[in-house]
Amino acid sequence: MTTMQAITDQNGVKRYMVNLVVNGDHRTVVVKANTLLVNVLRDHLDLTGTKKGCELGDCGSCTVLLNGKPVNSCLVLAVEADGQEIVTIEGLVQQGDTLDPLQEAFIDHAAVQCGYCTPGMILSAKALLAKNPSPTEQEVREAIAGNLCRCTGYVNVVKAVMVAAKRLQEGRGADHEG
């Protein structure tokens, strides 16, 4: 934060130049000290796949990966994210149109209803599978406990994550053999 450039406008309001790596792209935004990361993503960068359900850190619909860790982007100041790597739901699609196995599984197992919680759910699950490739059902539930869903009762969400984990494991196995 100390190295961040700042400018002050005529009204004495200070703004900071924040450098982010978002979905692999270098992006620069100029924000106030109190600007939230979620608003930078949505309003400055037009990455509206990151949702806002509460802005209080309760719902998890604003979940993004910050250096691989799931965070509620409504609780992160943009200036805190300076120099960091961020992955949003838009960053999950590989090579044009290949979906992430989690995305596939969410579709295949009817884990999506209104879809408002879905980007956050998928990113929380993504972070889980990165550090724990074969989670138990309980571990999946713990990993998405901060992502509220009003539609699915979590039944099919948990199922989808378990299936994706299994597919990824099998895929890895196949890679080894191949």
Binding site: T48, L99, Q103, Q113, P119, R141, R150, N156
Partner: protein, 787 residues
């Protein structure tokens, strides 16, 4: 009875699944338009106060503010989704009636300026005494909330079918119990938002809505516009559950701000404002009396209810009627009396939440029935079997029931849950309970009086025959109507789901439909879609007949292939015939519309609760109660549904899961709480206690075989039905585990703990009495062992 269908009955992936998992799906809050302003509403800090003066000058002077409006700038016409009681204004004129009532609005260049401007609006209030409890609000001398409604009575219902007094006089056993529900809130994860654009003489509103039609109708009415000059477009909607059925201040104020500024205006509620806007579930006070014969057959029921409506009517008149109307669906009895008073209080207005009016009365009735069964020494499941409604019957309030597999639902739930091995045999602290429910498949009559069809559809086959687009006013709010309606369209045309496109819920491009409420779309919108699809098919087969030199009657079309019946090798493709049709005759279009038959009786309020068809469900749950803390853990739930033919099993079970989830939250945790001055104490999802993935039990969702003659392909509702039995089901399981009854919702750990303590004290003094060798009265002895 059922054909071998090609498209329906299959768990095809959701048509919008891909855009939702990639973040491409755009919800209203995600949209931006050039030159767009941000708008916000100033609300009342007092639960009841006279507005003496509003000064907006300072706010108007703030740089970046483009418009500030109060009641002086908007039509004074009262509105409300219930035409029976229009009692809301866009902005309060003389006084505010709850904390959160709408007073003024601002449009400015950005969020920050809007919030600053709101703080600069000065409102002088004369604070008035307020009332928050419906019983106190009805008392003589209570603060008067609306001048037109003495004793704050918003609506009163008194219905009597058969002769309840006589039934009670003839009954072997009559019992009365009293229960209290709680205020809950739909809490969709997507907050409401709306973008209004008043351009030329035309108003366009992009909004998070469950019913573009009702929005269009009421917005047009408010501004004196022809409906054709108001276009309401639904974007993706992040859940509704009843809360997004009626237009809010966001649309009304947004429209005016847009007209004044000539710019698009985006408005939204934050989470706190959503709780304040509310329109969630009413808190009901429910007294139930029933009389039964020696075998437990119900002879008559009296439901005597009061509901806290909050400051305005919203959809509450219908809620009040539904609360009593739907009690007659599940059990067969001839005599029924229903009394209800809906009362205004200085709290946010209540409306329709999943299960509309029915879940709390159902909780009360199912608890009550268990107690009656206990009094008679009858197993609660057996008690329900003895009274379960049969198909092709008519309820005392004149609802015609066609298909009804309630008995089979109960039997299957019994088998799946292992009821016989568990009931009365589980270790202390563990218990099993049952409850049933039923719900409409669409309301028999629309919310306001009109003879418009309830649903309509157009299908346009693409010129080259490679795709077909369904145009429907039906409203997908996550439940998956876009998907099931495309499946239905493909089935009816003989086409494939994968080539279906949909344009839905845009009042300018799609034909009229009342929208997503009362679990209506699969049956009603589906019926219109089926008709449209069949019309396409008929034209296509005629064309193919010409092309193939075969009489059209000898042809059929399935999965995109038109073939001679019995000789499938003689065929052409759907696409070939469709292309040729366009070349010779122009666009290939199919149209459909659905109006339900005339339903119900002629008594006052007879329309509410009528439906072409009713779903039925039985739920059994197994719970564990911690004797020390009162903590309830639901171990497993079995839901068995009679929802007619299933179009998409995966989506259908998803509806059951979600409905059960909501019922579960309301059973144990959820409640909107207020302080002594009417301010919400827990206006956020954490303290409101929306259940997380860790709170959910194992759920088994099963179906019984059923076919509904009134529905297209035999369908009926599922989306709300599974919310209805849950609360009673858990309460009964808790009783089975610990022998305690909690008479109010939610069934919190604390209430369970208190009831356990009371029981311990009572048992203790009873034991001491017994030790002193006082013989138990036959009555107590009877109650003691439940025989």
């Amino acid at each position: 009875m059922r054909d071998n269908y090609a498209v329906i009955g299959k768990s095809v992936p959701k048509i919008d699944g891909r855009v939702k998992v990639t973040g491409q799906a755009k919800y209203t809050g995600d949209l931006k338009f050039p030159n767009m302003l941000v708008g916000k509403i100033l609300t009342s800090p007092h639960p009841h106060a006279r507005i003496l003066h509003i000064d907006t000058t300072e706010a108007e002077r703030l740089p970046g503010v483009k418009a500030v409006i109060t009641h002086k700038d908007v039509p004074p016409l009262k509105y409300g989704i219930s035409p029976a009681r229009w009692d809301e204004n866009i902005f309060c004129i003389d006084k505010v009636r709850f904390v959160g009532d709408k007073v003024a609005a601002v449009a400015a260049v950005d969020d920050e300026t809007v919030y600053k401007a709101l703080k600069l609006i000065k409102v002088d209030y004369e604070v008035l005494p307020a009332v928050f409890d419906p019983i106190e609000a009805m008392a003589e001398g209570a603060p008067q909330i609306h001048d037109e409604y003495p004793r704050n009575i918003n609506t009163e219902i008194h219905q009597h079918f058969g002769d309840v007094e006589k039934a009670f006089a003839q009954a072997y056993h009559v019992r009365t119990d009293r229960f209290v529900g709680q205020r809950t809130y739909q809490s969709p994860i997507e907050p409401h938002s709306a973008i209004s654009m008043w351009e030329g003489g035309k108003l366009t509103v992009y909004t998070s809505t469950q019913s573009p039609h009702y929005f269009q109708y009421y917005i047009a009415r408010q501004f004196g516009l022809p409906m054709g000059d108001v276009r309401v477009v639904k974007t993706f909607v992040g859940g509704g559950f009843g809360g997004k059925l009626e237009p809010t201040g966001l649309e009304f104020a947004g429209a005016v701000l847009s007209r004044l500024t000539g710019r698009p205006v985006k408005m939204f509620y934050d989470r706190h404002e959503m709780f304040a806007h509310n329109r969630g579930r009413h808190r009901q006070i429910m007294e139930i009396t029933s009389g039964v014969d020696r075998d437990g057959k119900i002879l008559g029921v009296h439901a005597n209810f009061i509901m806290d409506g909050g400051a305005y009517t919203s959809l509450g008149i219908a809620t009040a009627y539904y609360a009593g109307a739907m009690l007659t669906l599940t059990y067969d009895f001839a005599n029924y009396k229903f009394d209800m008073i809906r009362v205004y209080t200085n709290l946010p207005a209540c409306g329709a939440q999943r299960g509309h009016g029915a879940p709390q009365p159902r909780y009360a009735f199912e608890c009550h029935l268990d107690m009656v069964a206990q009094d008679l020494g009858i197993d609660p499941l057996e008690m329900r079997l003895r009274n379960a409604r049969k198909p092709n019957t008519i309820t005392p309030n004149q609802f015609k029931i066609n298909s009804c597999e309630l008995e089979e639902c109960i039997q299957q739930a019994r088998r799946l849950s292992g009821w016989d091995a568990k009931k009365g045999k589980l270790p202390r602290g563990r218990g099993i309970g049952i409850a049933v429910g039923s719900f409409v498949s669409g309301a028999g009559y629309p919310i306001y009086r009109t003879n418009l069809p309830h649903a309509a559809a157009i299908i346009k086959v693409h010129e080259d025959g490679s795709a077909a687009t369904l145009y429907t006013g039906a409203t997908d709010i996550g439940q998956g109507s876009d998907t099931v309606l495309c499946q239905m369209a493909a089935e009816a045309m003989g086409f494939v789901y994968e080539r279906m496109k949909i344009v839905a819920a845009d009042t300018e491009t799609t034909p009229h439909d009342f929208g997503a409420y009362a679990s209506r779309q699969t049956l009603m919108s589906g019926a219109a879609v089926k008709q449209a699809g069949e019309e396409v098919k008929k034209q296509l087969l005629a064309m193919a007949g010409e092309m193939m030199q075969v009489a059209p009657e000898e042809l059929d079309c399935r999965e995109g292939v038109i073939f001679v019946k019995g000789r499938p090798e003689v065929n052409i493709t759907f696409g070939e015939a469709a292309r040729e049709f366009f070349v010779r005759k122009g666009p290939l279009i199919g149209r459909g519309a659905y109006t339900p038959p005339t339903l119900g009786g002629t008594f006052r309020g007879a329309a509410v609760g009528t439906s072409p068809a009713y779903s039925f469900a039985a739920q059994i749950s197994e719970v564990e109660v911690d004797e020390e803390t009162g903590e309830i853990q639901v171990k497993e739930v079995w839901d068995v549904h009679d929802c007619g033919t299933v179009i998409n099993p995966a989506l259908l079970h998803g509806q059951v899961h979600g409905a059960l989830y909501m019922g579960m939250g309301e059973s144990v945790w959820e409640e909107v709480l207020f302080d002594a001055s009417g301010r919400i104490l827990n206006p956020n999802l954490a303290e409101y206690r929306l259940p997380t993935a860790l709170d959910m039990p194992k759920i088994t969702s099963a179906l019984v075989d059923s076919f509904e003659p009134a529905g297209p392909w035999g369908v009926k509702e599922v989306g709300e039905g599974a919310t209805i039995p849950t609360m009673g089901c858990y309460a009964n399981a808790i009783y089975d585990a610990m022998g305690i009854r909690v008479y109010s919702l939610p069934l919190t750990y604390e209430k369970v703990w208190r009831a356990l303590r009371e029981k311990r004290n009572a048992d203790f003094s009873q034991n001491r009495q017994m030790a002193e060798a006082v013989p138990a009265t036959p009555d107590e002895a009877a109650r003691g062992d439940g025989r």
